[in-house]
Point group: C2
DNA sequence: TATTCTTGTCGAAACGTTTCGATAGAGATT
DNA sequence: AATCTCTATCGAAACGTTTCGACAAGAATA
């Protein structure tokens, strides 16, 4: 591999001149620049990232902190990841996956100690997430995908639950429904302050009230059995209910089973809309599900973009970006 | 951050002594070692990976090369990735995601040029994959997840299609089925030499012959519509067919629709087994699907482990590891 | 007793960058 | 004509490691 020394020799200049020519940090005559450019091309020069990092510039490596336990997202996560990696690459950064137990702050400390990462993307944020405080105390650049109570104070990207709720309920109302059920994620997730469980509930209930839609909310563990139970009791309690909103992928099969166990059929007797699932999944069902697609690709892309903006000093380190889901009409609603 | 100099000073020895004490590359007296250990503990010392890399040792960063286009796996990929990252971490490596268009060899060359990666994991291998030749010519350590014709010559991890086929057909025969249909992936994937499409077909047909099961194989594009068409014609052509093997997640909904369009029901009139899909997905269906679970977590784990073995010189750079899927009995077979 | 080998340690060079301070020459200001 | 300011360039130091060669002091060998 060619080094900066080889370039300097070939262009007949000092090493530092080459460095300045590349970075533009000091004026270099056009003529010398040209010779340098040529030498670089001829020798296929690529700066060594390690050396650059050692000399004090960043590593251009970003760490994406995944929760090792919470595999709830599934299908959706891979879109986020691959899109994030693409974004990083397009801006000449690398993305590495951190699956350590980052909630254990001493583990997190170890991760940041080796200075390998220029910045972090934090996912699966819970209420009063300690990691947020920790990273910000250390003065490390990071962005959050998700939200917690103090998320406003940091740079974050999240689903626009309010717009998502408005969009889906507008659709519901337009179709003439007046009574809706909402099957949320688990009570446990809600109590832990998991963003979607909390924010979607609030936004839906708020919007429903404004639109004059009656909404009955239930929590549900992410399992088939629980889905069936919850669906059955919800429907028994509300005989006039004509549309069901579900934000719980794993419970969906059970919910459908519960519905048909009551002798109802989708969409004839009951419309069903899945909230924040992936299109791939929604299309697996029969009938295919009307759903609000989770903007996972956008979350990944923006997460990285914002982080890079901070790193390159182009943006202040605060402010939220909200991205709504997209409504896809399937066969499960009338 | 504490550097090796700080340790040396505090322990009252030379920098090089500390280095040798840590690496064990030269004998150091137990007493000095103890002082050094203590100093390290007191100062929370962590070697700077950049400096180590510059000095010629590796970066301890592994690159996982994903195909930016082929998002076919979906649910399964995230398991593989997260498990791979875990494995890397457990051996003190980092895993970074490369989503560049690595089939474009000049892009691949650029990736390897910056020496950031100690080794690579290559996925989604096709027949006579150029990247394999390229990397091996460059003498870079890598492992393959998947297979191509010359895969034997390199270190690789793949699904054990033979065992998977034997296992699933043994189950089929035991249940008394004598005529089976196999809905493969697309003809295009097959012609491109995509491992699963090629190897599963061969293994199934071979095993079926040996077991005396009649097997009709069809290709199918990964879409709902195509699934329906293929299922209908396959079943029309083989009225005695009593079990359907499907290795095509995206076509599944269509296939099920086709089956019921013919007035058949699963599993009463026809058993259905999904090959190499994820359990999460299989459980989404109603009835839940009997399936051979793809060993994605193991593939990810072993991929990284093998690569590290090579890097640390503990293994020669060739040989295949095959991992069979796991049969899960659902409600779709009798 | 003189020589070689081993063991434990040190100092310095090397890895490939970036950046600081110095400087030579050209042009502008007195 | 002397001074000042730019502009373009150079050389050297620094970043934090690893490793090579040197070298004492003691052990083993002759």
């Amino acid at each position: 591999m060619a080094t900066i020394k080889d370039i300097a020799k070939r262009a007949g200049v000092a090493v530092s001149t080459v460095s300045y020519a590349i970075s533009g940090n000091r004026p270099i005559s056009e003529e010398v620049k040209k010779r340098i450019r040529q030498a670089m091309a001829e020798l296929d020069y690529q700066p060594n990232p390690m050396a650059r990092a050692l000399a004090g510039k960043g590593t251009r490596i970003l760490g994406l902190i995944l929760d090792p336990l919470d595999r709830s997202l599934g299908i959706t996560e891979i879109d986020l990841l691959s899109r994030a990696a693409e974004a990083a690459r397009s801006m000449n950064y690398h993305l590495t996956l951190l699956t350590d137990d980052s909630r254990n702050l001493s583990v997190l400390e170890e991760i940041i100690a080796d200075k390998l990462f220029d910045g972090f993307i934090l996912m699966e944020i819970h209420k009063e997430d300690e990691r947020v405080r920790f990273l910000s105390e250390k003065g490390l650049p990071f962005v959050i995908i998700g939200r917690d109570d103090r998320t406003q104070d940091f740079r974050s990207i999240d689903i626009d639950f309010q717009k998502t709720a408005e969009q889906v309920l507008a659709h519901v109302k337009e179709k003439g429904h007046r009574e809706a059920g909402f099957i949320n994620q688990s009570l446990n997730a809600f109590n832990r302050g998991y963003g979607p469980a909390v924010a979607m509930k609030a936004s839906l209930e708020d919007t429903a009230r404004r639109l004059g839609i009656k909404l009955d909310t239930r929590f549900c563990l992410p399992s088939r059995e629980e889905g069936e139970n919850v669906a059955v009791t919800l429907l028994r309690d509300n005989p006039a209910l004509s549309v069901l909103l579900v934000m719980n992928d794993q419970a969906l099969p059970g919910i459908l089973k519960g519905i048909s166990a009551l002798g109802l059929s989708v969409p004839k007797d009951l419309s069903l809309i899945s909230l924040l699932s992936s299109s791939k999944l929604a299309e697996m069902f029969h009938p295919s599900l009307t759903h609000m697609e989770i903007p996972s690709r956008e979350l990944g892309w923006h997460g990285v973009c914002r982080l890079v903006e901070i790193l390159e000093g182009r943006q202040e380190n605060r402010g939220m970006i909200l991205i709504p889901g997209t409504l896809h009409i399937g066969e499960s609603t009338i």
